[in-house]
């Protein structure tokens, strides 16, 4: 079998950033504290900005720097701040460290293995689509596909609203990753519009978290099962 050819440094860097983002997604899967999940979300969002800067530098697209700054301001600063305040308000006596450990439906090791299966599925599906191009690293795109599925998995295996919200936000990160890799030349206004979609999601999820917490006195969605007809 022929040795695999090394991609260029730019493509390698993009792929590495994508791979680290996927690893952070897995980190969220096994994290037991909502606070730490928010922290991981911040790291993941920061990496998206770094990737935007790398692409901007490589392909000479100055408006991507603006996008990187906007995305960092929104996802690294604003969204985590909102989430933290929400969680602090819902936390009972010890306002810090809302534990969502009990919300795991699978043990962490099993969840990671299930995540690997999901990631493999997403990875090879995107690989089979065969989107190739000089400016689109196929691996980073496939990793974005895997991330979408793992984020869905995170929302499924967790039974609390906070993790589900973070799963949804990181899903948005995955989609931004795919967008950056495939269509980095998109006009800035469109990219920004996508970014502000996230704000809608934040509003919806914060309403959901607060309503659920005032009704059920907890973040767990397990009580909702008895509403089945």
């Amino acid at each position: 079998m022929d040795p695999a050819q090394a991609p260029g440094v730019y493509e390698g860097a993009a792929n590495v950033i994508a791979a680290v983002m996927l690893l952070i997604e897995f980190g969220m899967l096994r994290q037991a504290l909502a606070r730490d999940q928010v922290r991981l979300y911040m790291a993941q969002s920061a990496l998206i900005s770094v990737l935007a800067i790398v692409i901007a530098a490589d392909r000479n697209l100055p408006e991507l720097y603006v996008l990187a700054a906007l995305s960092a301001a929104l996802k690294v600063v604003a969204v985590p701040l909102v989430l933290r305040r929400l969680l602090a308000r819902t936390g009972d006596d010890e306002e810090e460290a809302v534990g969502v450990a009990g919300s795991n439906t699978l043990s962490p090791a099993t969840a990671v293995l299930a995540g690997i299966v999901l990631a493999a599925f997403g990875f090879f599906c995107f690989g089979a689509m065969g989107i190739h191009g000089p400016a689109a690293p196929a691996t980073a795109l496939a990793i974005a596909g895997a991330m979408v599925l793992v984020a869905f998995g995170l929302m499924i295996v967790r039974r609390d609203v906070a993790s589900q919200a973070i799963g949804f936000f990181s899903l948005e990160n995955a989609i931004s990753l795919a967008a950056l890799v495939v269509a980095s030349g998109l006009p800035l206004i469109l990219e920004t519009a996508f970014l502000f979609d996230l704000l809608v999601a934040v509003v919806v999820f914060s309403m959901l978290i607060r309503t659920h917490h005032t009704r059920a006195e907890s973040l767990s969605t397990a009580d909702l099962t008895r509403l089945r007809g």
Partner: protein
């Protein structure tokens, strides 16, 4: 110009460097760890004194133990001393015996050594030694897939699974270093090394708390020279694994590319420096994390498995 050293002598030097350097690296790690904790710590030469003391002591075997109990440490050390022939320790070009076995061959030798030690521990009838060997075998069964996936990554990267080939590939260009497959495989290997050398977060390296012990507990019943061989063996294993990590994956620079004496001496110094650097990182990890509960070790290994599997995935689309 310095004189050329004959090839067989270089091959012997590879083994001697590992054999003599190994206790020193353990001493350095113990010293760094103590300094990080604000203690003065033992001398760096302390492991050598320990070995010398143990070699002078009387050897005892428990009642009913067969010859295998005493043969196991010898077999283990022999296996460990064979591995430096197979991996790039000092030279960037393959030595004649270097093609005797590939990475899997080295892996088999490591497993053989750990198997005979575990079997000897089982023979003693001592509950702690048996506990240790049973745990060691359980956890090595779950780290094995990680190692296999790391080997797959190497095979996909180079088209062969010779350690020399991977080192040469890594040296060839910057693109080879920054590709995710290589970084993920190296990270997975590092986690396996933490596991195999019995470091935090898997096992406390120092201390006498038997219930947390995995590898350490296996040598409880050995004494005198045989205990010394076991201790030396685990130090050898540590330096061998560090050498694989540094000379094959992370930093295959500083190896001798010719037979000149100067280059070879420089390579010895470079190897020890690299192993010390890896050891310092390990010491920092030792001091910054808590030991995992026994049943949490599977999560640690699942993390390493994730890295290794992702490494293989990224290669399949050609880009990684």
């Amino acid at each position: 110009m310095s004189a050329a050293i004959p090839i067989p002598v270089i091959q012997l030097l590879q083994v001697l460097t590992i054999a003599i350097g190994a206790p020193g690296i353990t001493g350095v790690i113990a010293k760094v760890e103590a300094r990080l904790q604000g203690r003065r710590g033992p001398r760096i030469r302390q492991p050598y004194y320990d070995l010398a003391k143990l070699f002078r002591k009387e050897a005892l075997a428990p009642d009913g133990a067969s010859w295998f109990f005493l043969a196991a440490p010898l077999i283990a050390v022999a296996a460990y001393l064979t591995i430096p022939l197979l991996i790039p320790v000092l030279t960037s070009y393959g030595l004649p015996l270097g093609y005797m076995g590939d990475i899997l061959g080295g892996g088999f030798l490591l497993s053989l050594a750990s198997f005979v030690v575990a079997t000897a521990a089982l023979e003693t009838g001592s509950p702690y030694a048996q506990l240790g060997s049973s745990r060691a075998k359980t956890f090595s069964a779950i780290t094995e897939p990680v190692v296999l996936f790391v080997v797959f990554t190497v095979a996909l990267l180079t088209g062969t699974d010779l350690p020399y080939a991977l080192a040469a590939t890594v040296r060839s260009s910057a693109g080879q270093i920054i590709r995710p497959a290589h970084l993920l495989a190296a990270a997975a290997l590092f986690m396996v090394i933490l596991h195999e050398t019995g470091r935090i977060p898997v096992e406390t390296h120092t201390g006498t708390y038997e219930f947390g012990m995995i590898e350490e507990a296996r040598s409880f019943e050995h004494s005198g020279p045989f205990f010394a061989l076991l201790k030396w063996g685990s130090e050898l294993k540590q330096l061998i694994l560090y050498t694989i990590l540094a000379d094959v994956f992370l930093a295959p620079w500083g190896l001798a590319s010719s037979q000149r004496a100067g280059a070879v001496v420089l390579a010895i110094a470079a190897l020890l420096a690299k192993a010390t650097a890896v050891g310092c990182v390990v010491a920092v990890i030792d001091n910054s994390f808590a030991k995992l509960r026994l049943f949490k070790i599977t999560e640690f290994v699942a993390g390493a498995f994730l890295l290794a599997v992702l490494g293989v995935f990224t290669l399949y689309l050609g880009g990684g």
